[in-house]
Amino acid sequence: MFEIGRLCVKIAGRDAGLKCIVVEVIDNNYVLIDGQTRRRKCNVKHLEPLDKVLKVKKGVSHGDVLKELKKEKIEVKEKVKRIKKVKTGEAKTGEKPKAKETVKKQEKPELKKEIAKEKPAAKPKKAVKKDESKPKKTVVKKAKKKTVKKAKSVKAKKPKK
């Protein structure tokens, strides 16, 4: 029933109602399909065989499958999403990290100064050592939060003046 090149309709899942070709027979129950559907392993129960059998070699590439389907006047929509995703991703990633970097650059030196101001008399050498020896995530997070709050407060103050 499900020999290589068999034209089928998928009956289950989100690809249901789309046509495909059997590319490889894996099992009694499973078959590799390609065409309008995604190229994927598929249970035979989820396929409805049609009358036609296309002449195709075992394990044909996706491009060749599309050519064969074109001869049968079955059109396959090509994915256009990838280009869009890349564009949007670049735009988003391009904008955000820049902003973050600038914020960090502004904040970091302030932090160090503040810490130095807070504990200048009480053994500054040890404090420096601690920072180096324990670069824990929690410490960093707290510092970031503080900086953010301070930055906000600074921003809020500036326009008033």
Partner: protein, 89 residues
Amino acid sequence: MPSGKHKSRSMRRVYTKLSGSKVVVHHEKRKPSKATCAVCGAALSGVPRERPYKMQTMAKTKKRPSRPYGGFLCSKCMRAKLKEKGKNV
């Protein structure tokens, strides 16, 4: 005490547990009936049973299965329909 309109049985009663081992009765409007298959009348799975104001806030993908005739036919009837379609073509 619940007000008079809440005492009517057209409201459903929901027992909610509070902290401190308290149980309180909330009165809510009843849910609509289950969505059914247009062909065989079986209850559809994957279609939430909520009042319209909640359905509005839900995403489209959460309101129906993502297959052809999803939320309209049950999977069995959908398969039967697609088989017929395939044979005709």
